[in-house]
Protein backbone atom coordinates (compact mmCIF):
# COMPACT_ATOMS: atom_id res chain seq x y z
CA UNK A 1 0.00 0.00 0.00
CA UNK A 2 1.29 3.44 -0.89
CA UNK A 3 2.02 5.48 2.22
CA UNK A 4 0.53 8.92 2.75
CA UNK A 5 3.77 10.69 1.81
CA UNK A 6 3.78 9.18 -1.65
CA UNK A 7 0.11 9.90 -2.02
CA UNK A 8 0.61 13.54 -1.23
CA UNK A 9 3.84 13.76 -3.22
CA UNK A 10 2.24 12.34 -6.34
CA UNK A 11 -1.05 14.11 -5.94
CA UNK A 12 -2.22 15.45 -9.26
CA UNK A 13 -4.99 17.83 -10.24
CA UNK A 14 -6.08 19.16 -13.56
CA UNK A 15 -5.41 22.90 -13.78
CA UNK A 16 -7.88 25.30 -15.39
CA UNK A 17 -7.37 25.69 -19.13
CA UNK A 18 -6.96 29.46 -18.98
CA UNK A 19 -3.67 29.09 -17.11
CA UNK A 20 -1.88 27.87 -20.24
CA UNK A 21 -3.30 30.82 -22.15
CA UNK A 22 -2.00 33.16 -19.47
CA UNK A 23 1.39 31.49 -19.59
CA UNK A 24 1.63 31.72 -23.38
CA UNK A 25 0.53 35.34 -23.26
CA UNK A 26 3.20 36.15 -20.70
CA UNK A 27 5.79 34.11 -22.54
CA UNK A 28 4.97 35.90 -25.79
CA UNK A 29 5.69 39.14 -24.02
CA UNK A 30 8.84 37.62 -22.65
CA UNK A 31 9.84 36.29 -26.06
CA UNK A 32 9.39 39.74 -27.50
CA UNK A 33 11.48 41.09 -24.71
CA UNK A 34 14.11 38.44 -25.30
CA UNK A 35 14.01 39.21 -28.99
CA UNK A 36 14.52 42.84 -28.26
CA UNK A 37 17.45 41.91 -26.07
CA UNK A 38 18.89 39.87 -28.91
CA UNK A 39 18.40 42.81 -31.21
CA UNK A 40 20.21 44.92 -28.71
CA UNK A 41 23.00 42.37 -28.64
CA UNK A 42 23.33 42.69 -32.39
CA UNK A 43 23.39 46.41 -32.09
CA UNK A 44 26.46 46.75 -29.90
CA UNK A 45 28.62 46.81 -33.02
CA UNK A 46 26.79 49.82 -34.32
CA UNK A 47 26.54 51.37 -30.88
CA UNK A 48 30.22 50.70 -30.26
CA UNK A 49 31.30 52.25 -33.55
CA UNK A 50 28.95 55.17 -33.03
CA UNK A 51 30.26 55.83 -29.55
CA UNK A 52 33.84 55.46 -30.73
CA UNK A 53 33.25 57.94 -33.52
CA UNK A 54 31.58 60.38 -31.17
CA UNK A 55 34.38 60.02 -28.63
CA UNK A 56 36.99 60.54 -31.33
CA UNK A 57 35.22 63.63 -32.59
CA UNK A 58 34.98 65.05 -29.09
CA UNK A 59 38.63 64.24 -28.45
CA UNK A 60 39.74 65.94 -31.66
CA UNK A 61 37.56 68.93 -30.90
CA UNK A 62 38.92 69.30 -27.37
CA UNK A 63 42.48 68.72 -28.56
CA UNK A 64 42.12 71.37 -31.24
CA UNK A 65 40.78 73.83 -28.68
CA UNK A 66 43.60 72.94 -26.32
CA UNK A 67 46.32 73.44 -28.92
CA UNK A 68 44.71 76.62 -30.12
CA UNK A 69 44.63 77.94 -26.57
CA UNK A 70 48.20 76.83 -26.03
CA UNK A 71 49.27 78.79 -29.09
CA UNK A 72 47.33 81.76 -27.87
CA UNK A 73 48.83 81.43 -24.44
CA UNK A 74 52.33 81.17 -25.83
CA UNK A 75 51.80 84.14 -28.10
CA UNK A 76 50.18 86.08 -25.26
CA UNK A 77 53.02 85.29 -22.91
CA UNK A 78 55.61 86.19 -25.49
CA UNK A 79 53.78 89.42 -26.29
CA UNK A 80 53.45 90.28 -22.65
CA UNK A 81 57.10 89.53 -22.16
CA UNK A 82 57.99 91.85 -24.97
CA UNK A 83 55.66 94.47 -23.56
CA UNK A 84 57.05 94.10 -20.08
CA UNK A 85 60.55 94.26 -21.44
CA UNK A 86 59.56 97.45 -23.25
CA UNK A 87 57.51 98.98 -20.49
CA UNK A 88 59.40 97.95 -17.42
CA UNK A 89 62.30 100.44 -17.74
CA UNK A 90 59.80 103.20 -18.43
CA UNK A 91 57.75 102.34 -15.34
CA UNK A 92 60.86 102.13 -13.21
CA UNK A 93 62.04 105.48 -14.52
CA UNK A 94 58.65 107.04 -13.87
CA UNK A 95 58.62 105.67 -10.35
CA UNK A 96 62.09 106.96 -9.68
CA UNK A 97 61.22 110.37 -11.02
CA UNK A 98 58.08 110.48 -8.93
CA UNK A 99 59.95 109.32 -5.90
CA UNK A 100 62.58 112.00 -6.37
CA UNK A 101 59.90 114.62 -6.59
CA UNK A 102 58.23 113.30 -3.47
CA UNK A 103 61.49 113.22 -1.59
CA UNK A 104 62.28 116.78 -2.65
CA UNK A 105 58.86 117.86 -1.46
CA UNK A 106 59.34 116.11 1.83
CA UNK A 107 62.73 117.71 2.31
CA UNK A 108 61.44 121.15 1.39
CA UNK A 109 58.21 120.83 3.28
CA UNK A 110 57.97 122.24 6.80
CA UNK A 111 54.53 120.98 7.68
CA UNK A 112 54.90 117.39 6.68
CA UNK A 113 58.54 116.86 7.43
CA UNK A 114 57.72 114.29 10.04
CA UNK A 115 56.04 112.12 7.49
CA UNK A 116 58.09 110.05 5.18
CA UNK A 117 56.20 111.32 2.19
CA UNK A 118 52.96 113.00 1.26
CA UNK A 119 52.55 114.63 -2.08
CA UNK A 120 49.12 116.15 -2.04
CA UNK A 121 49.98 118.23 -4.99
CA UNK A 122 50.90 115.32 -7.21
CA UNK A 123 48.08 113.12 -6.13
CA UNK A 124 45.80 114.84 -8.60
CA UNK A 125 47.27 112.46 -11.12
CA UNK A 126 45.34 109.68 -9.38
CA UNK A 127 42.14 111.65 -9.14
CA UNK A 128 42.66 112.54 -5.49
CA UNK A 129 41.72 109.03 -4.59
CA UNK A 130 45.19 108.09 -3.52
CA UNK A 131 48.25 109.80 -2.19
CA UNK A 132 51.66 108.70 -3.25
CA UNK A 133 54.26 108.39 -0.59
CA UNK A 134 57.85 107.23 -0.70
CA UNK A 135 58.51 103.96 0.98
CA UNK A 136 61.56 103.09 3.09
CA UNK A 137 63.35 102.02 -0.04
CA UNK A 138 62.29 105.18 -1.81
CA UNK A 139 59.71 103.41 -3.87
CA UNK A 140 56.39 105.14 -4.53
CA UNK A 141 53.50 103.75 -2.47
CA UNK A 142 49.89 104.71 -3.01
CA UNK A 143 47.79 105.21 0.09
CA UNK A 144 44.31 106.52 0.66
CA UNK A 145 43.78 109.98 2.22
CA UNK A 146 42.29 108.28 5.25
CA UNK A 147 45.50 106.45 5.86
CA UNK A 148 47.38 109.68 5.39
CA UNK A 149 45.26 111.17 8.16
CA UNK A 150 46.05 108.13 10.20
CA UNK A 151 49.75 108.66 9.64
CA UNK A 152 49.38 112.28 10.64
CA UNK A 153 47.51 111.23 13.75
CA UNK A 154 50.27 108.83 14.61
CA UNK A 155 52.69 111.72 14.86
CA UNK A 156 52.87 113.12 18.35
CA UNK A 157 53.04 116.67 17.00
CA UNK A 158 49.46 116.33 15.80
CA UNK A 159 47.62 115.03 18.83
CA UNK A 160 43.95 115.63 17.97
CA UNK A 161 43.27 111.91 17.68
CA UNK A 162 44.84 110.21 20.68
CA UNK A 163 42.87 107.02 20.09
CA UNK A 164 44.66 106.50 16.81
CA UNK A 165 47.98 107.26 18.45
CA UNK A 166 47.42 104.52 20.95
CA UNK A 167 46.29 102.08 18.34
CA UNK A 168 49.15 102.75 16.01
CA UNK A 169 51.62 102.59 18.86
CA UNK A 170 50.22 99.21 19.78
CA UNK A 171 50.48 98.05 16.18
CA UNK A 172 54.02 99.30 16.00
CA UNK A 173 55.02 97.30 19.04
CA UNK A 174 53.37 94.22 17.58
CA UNK A 175 55.08 94.69 14.27
CA UNK A 176 58.44 95.35 15.84
CA UNK A 177 58.11 92.25 17.95
CA UNK A 178 57.21 90.20 14.93
CA UNK A 179 59.76 87.90 13.41
CA UNK A 180 58.27 88.50 10.00
CA UNK A 181 60.34 90.48 7.57
CA UNK A 182 58.87 93.93 7.13
CA UNK A 183 57.75 94.78 3.65
CA UNK A 184 58.18 98.11 2.07
CA UNK A 185 54.50 98.72 1.62
CA UNK A 186 53.72 98.12 5.25
CA UNK A 187 52.28 101.24 6.77
CA UNK A 188 53.86 100.73 10.16
CA UNK A 189 57.26 100.18 8.62
CA UNK A 190 56.84 103.47 6.87
CA UNK A 191 55.87 105.13 10.12
CA UNK A 192 58.81 103.49 11.86
CA UNK A 193 61.11 104.62 9.08
CA UNK A 194 59.70 108.09 9.41
CA UNK A 195 60.53 108.13 13.10
CA UNK A 196 64.02 106.85 12.39
CA UNK A 197 64.63 109.59 9.83
CA UNK A 198 63.38 112.19 12.26
CA UNK A 199 65.69 110.87 14.92
CA UNK A 200 68.61 110.91 12.54
CA UNK A 201 67.84 114.48 11.58
Amino acid sequence: MQNFKDKLYNHEAEPPSEIWQNITAELDGGINKIASVKDFRRKPDLVFYGLTAAASFIFIFIASIFFDLSKTDVSTVSNSLHQSQNLLPKQVQDSLNLNNKILKEIINSTKDKNLLALNYEKSSRYGKKYLTIAGPECQPVKISPKVATLIESADNEYPPKPIWNKKIEKWKQIMLGSTLSPISTNLLDIVQASSSIDNNE
Binding site: L8, H11, A13, P15, I19, W20, E26
Partner: protein, 168 residues
Amino acid sequence: MQELLYKKFSAKMYGVCLRYSGNVDDANDLLQEGFIKVFKNLSKFRGEGSFEGWMRRIFVNTSIEYFRKKIKLYNVSEVQENMIEDVNLNIFDTLAEKDLIILVNELSPGYKMVFNMHVIEGYSHKEIADMLGITEGTSKSQLARAKGVLKKSLEKMSKKPGSNITNI
Protein backbone atom coordinates in the same frame (compact mmCIF):
# COMPACT_ATOMS: atom_id res chain seq x y z
CA MET B 1 7.81 21.94 -26.84
CA GLN B 2 6.64 24.23 -24.07
CA GLU B 3 3.10 23.08 -24.55
CA LEU B 4 4.20 19.46 -24.44
CA LEU B 5 6.01 20.05 -21.19
CA TYR B 6 3.02 21.83 -19.79
CA LYS B 7 0.66 19.01 -20.77
CA LYS B 8 2.96 16.40 -19.29
CA PHE B 9 3.72 18.05 -15.95
CA SER B 10 0.97 20.58 -15.29
CA ALA B 11 -1.25 18.17 -13.33
CA LYS B 12 1.59 17.08 -11.04
CA MET B 13 2.81 20.62 -10.52
CA TYR B 14 -0.71 21.83 -9.92
CA GLY B 15 -0.93 19.18 -7.20
CA VAL B 16 2.19 20.68 -5.61
CA CYS B 17 0.74 24.16 -5.86
CA LEU B 18 -2.56 23.08 -4.31
CA ARG B 19 -0.76 21.33 -1.50
CA TYR B 20 1.18 24.48 -0.61
CA SER B 21 -1.54 27.03 -1.23
CA GLY B 22 -4.70 25.28 -0.11
CA ASN B 23 -6.89 27.34 -2.41
CA VAL B 24 -7.42 27.36 -6.14
CA ASP B 25 -6.68 31.01 -6.78
CA ASP B 26 -3.25 30.93 -5.18
CA ALA B 27 -2.55 27.56 -6.81
CA ASN B 28 -3.37 28.99 -10.24
CA ASP B 29 -1.00 31.89 -9.67
CA LEU B 30 1.72 29.54 -8.48
CA LEU B 31 1.29 27.22 -11.45
CA GLN B 32 1.51 30.09 -13.91
CA GLU B 33 4.50 31.69 -12.21
CA GLY B 34 6.24 28.34 -11.82
CA PHE B 35 5.88 27.34 -15.46
CA ILE B 36 7.12 30.71 -16.65
CA LYS B 37 10.20 30.24 -14.46
CA VAL B 38 10.66 26.73 -15.83
CA PHE B 39 10.45 27.87 -19.45
CA LYS B 40 12.77 30.79 -18.88
CA ASN B 41 15.33 28.63 -17.10
CA LEU B 42 15.20 25.54 -19.28
CA SER B 43 18.75 26.16 -20.44
CA LYS B 44 19.94 25.92 -16.84
CA PHE B 45 18.83 22.31 -16.48
CA ARG B 46 22.09 20.37 -16.71
CA GLY B 47 20.57 16.90 -16.82
CA GLU B 48 21.69 16.15 -13.27
CA GLY B 49 18.79 14.20 -11.77
CA SER B 50 15.31 13.96 -13.19
CA PHE B 51 13.69 16.79 -15.06
CA GLU B 52 10.56 16.37 -12.96
CA GLY B 53 12.58 16.74 -9.79
CA TRP B 54 14.20 19.91 -11.11
CA MET B 55 10.84 21.28 -12.10
CA ARG B 56 9.31 20.33 -8.76
CA ARG B 57 12.04 22.22 -6.92
CA ILE B 58 11.21 25.30 -8.95
CA PHE B 59 7.55 25.00 -8.00
CA VAL B 60 8.33 24.37 -4.34
CA ASN B 61 10.67 27.36 -4.26
CA THR B 62 8.08 29.48 -6.03
CA SER B 63 5.51 28.44 -3.45
CA ILE B 64 7.88 29.22 -0.59
CA GLU B 65 8.66 32.64 -2.06
CA TYR B 66 4.98 33.27 -2.66
CA PHE B 67 3.95 32.50 0.91
CA ARG B 68 7.01 33.61 2.80
CA LYS B 69 5.80 37.19 2.70
CA LYS B 70 2.30 36.20 3.77
CA ILE B 71 3.12 33.76 6.52
CA LYS B 72 4.75 34.97 9.68
CA LEU B 73 6.25 32.15 11.71
CA TYR B 74 7.16 33.16 15.22
CA ASN B 75 10.14 31.52 16.82
CA VAL B 76 9.25 29.43 19.84
CA SER B 77 11.31 28.61 22.90
CA GLU B 78 12.69 25.14 23.62
CA VAL B 79 10.19 24.71 26.48
CA GLN B 80 7.25 25.21 24.15
CA GLU B 81 8.79 22.87 21.63
CA ASN B 82 9.29 20.09 24.18
CA MET B 83 5.72 20.38 25.37
CA ILE B 84 4.38 19.33 21.99
CA GLU B 85 3.48 15.69 21.69
CA ASP B 86 4.94 13.91 18.70
CA VAL B 87 2.50 12.07 16.46
CA ASN B 88 3.21 8.95 14.45
CA LEU B 89 2.29 9.80 10.89
CA ASN B 90 1.77 6.19 9.87
CA ILE B 91 -1.85 6.53 10.97
CA PHE B 92 -2.44 8.56 7.79
CA ASP B 93 -1.34 5.76 5.47
CA THR B 94 -4.83 4.31 5.37
CA LEU B 95 -6.33 7.56 4.17
CA ALA B 96 -7.22 8.08 0.57
CA GLU B 97 -5.29 10.68 -1.39
CA LYS B 98 -8.32 12.93 -1.56
CA ASP B 99 -8.83 12.82 2.22
CA LEU B 100 -5.16 13.50 2.81
CA ILE B 101 -5.32 16.59 0.68
CA ILE B 102 -8.38 17.79 2.56
CA LEU B 103 -6.61 17.25 5.87
CA VAL B 104 -3.43 18.98 4.81
CA ASN B 105 -5.37 21.92 3.42
CA GLU B 106 -7.05 22.37 6.77
CA LEU B 107 -3.68 23.18 8.30
CA SER B 108 -2.82 26.79 8.88
CA PRO B 109 -0.43 28.21 6.25
CA GLY B 110 2.59 28.04 8.56
CA TYR B 111 1.99 24.47 9.63
CA LYS B 112 1.23 23.44 6.08
CA MET B 113 4.41 24.99 4.75
CA VAL B 114 6.67 23.20 7.22
CA PHE B 115 4.73 19.95 6.95
CA ASN B 116 4.98 19.94 3.16
CA MET B 117 8.63 20.88 3.14
CA HIS B 118 9.74 18.38 5.77
CA VAL B 119 7.40 15.41 5.44
CA ILE B 120 6.62 15.47 1.74
CA GLU B 121 9.61 17.15 0.08
CA GLY B 122 12.14 15.82 2.56
CA TYR B 123 13.88 19.07 3.54
CA SER B 124 15.74 18.99 6.84
CA HIS B 125 14.73 21.37 9.62
CA LYS B 126 17.94 23.30 9.04
CA GLU B 127 17.13 23.73 5.37
CA ILE B 128 13.59 24.80 6.23
CA ALA B 129 14.92 27.22 8.82
CA ASP B 130 17.27 28.75 6.26
CA MET B 131 14.66 28.95 3.55
CA LEU B 132 11.93 30.43 5.74
CA GLY B 133 14.17 32.58 7.90
CA ILE B 134 13.24 30.85 11.16
CA THR B 135 15.09 28.75 13.71
CA GLU B 136 15.30 24.99 13.54
CA GLY B 137 13.35 24.83 16.80
CA THR B 138 10.52 26.79 15.24
CA SER B 139 10.49 24.47 12.24
CA LYS B 140 10.31 21.45 14.52
CA SER B 141 7.58 22.91 16.68
CA GLN B 142 5.56 23.92 13.62
CA LEU B 143 5.82 20.38 12.33
CA ALA B 144 4.85 18.86 15.66
CA ARG B 145 1.85 21.18 15.91
CA ALA B 146 0.90 20.37 12.35
CA LYS B 147 0.98 16.68 13.18
CA GLY B 148 -1.19 17.30 16.22
CA VAL B 149 -3.73 19.21 14.17
CA LEU B 150 -3.74 16.50 11.54
CA LYS B 151 -4.33 13.86 14.18
CA LYS B 152 -7.29 15.78 15.59
CA SER B 153 -8.68 16.34 12.12
CA LEU B 154 -8.30 12.66 11.41
CA GLU B 155 -10.18 11.80 14.61
CA LYS B 156 -12.99 14.14 13.62
CA MET B 157 -13.07 12.67 10.16
CA SER B 158 -13.29 9.10 11.51
CA LYS B 159 -16.23 10.03 13.72
CA LYS B 160 -18.25 11.32 10.81
CA PRO B 161 -21.05 8.96 9.78
CA GLY B 162 -20.25 6.99 6.68
CA SER B 163 -16.51 7.32 7.19
CA ASN B 164 -14.43 4.25 6.42
CA ILE B 165 -11.54 5.44 8.61
CA THR B 166 -11.29 3.08 11.57
CA ASN B 167 -7.65 2.43 12.11
CA ILE B 168 -6.67 5.41 14.37
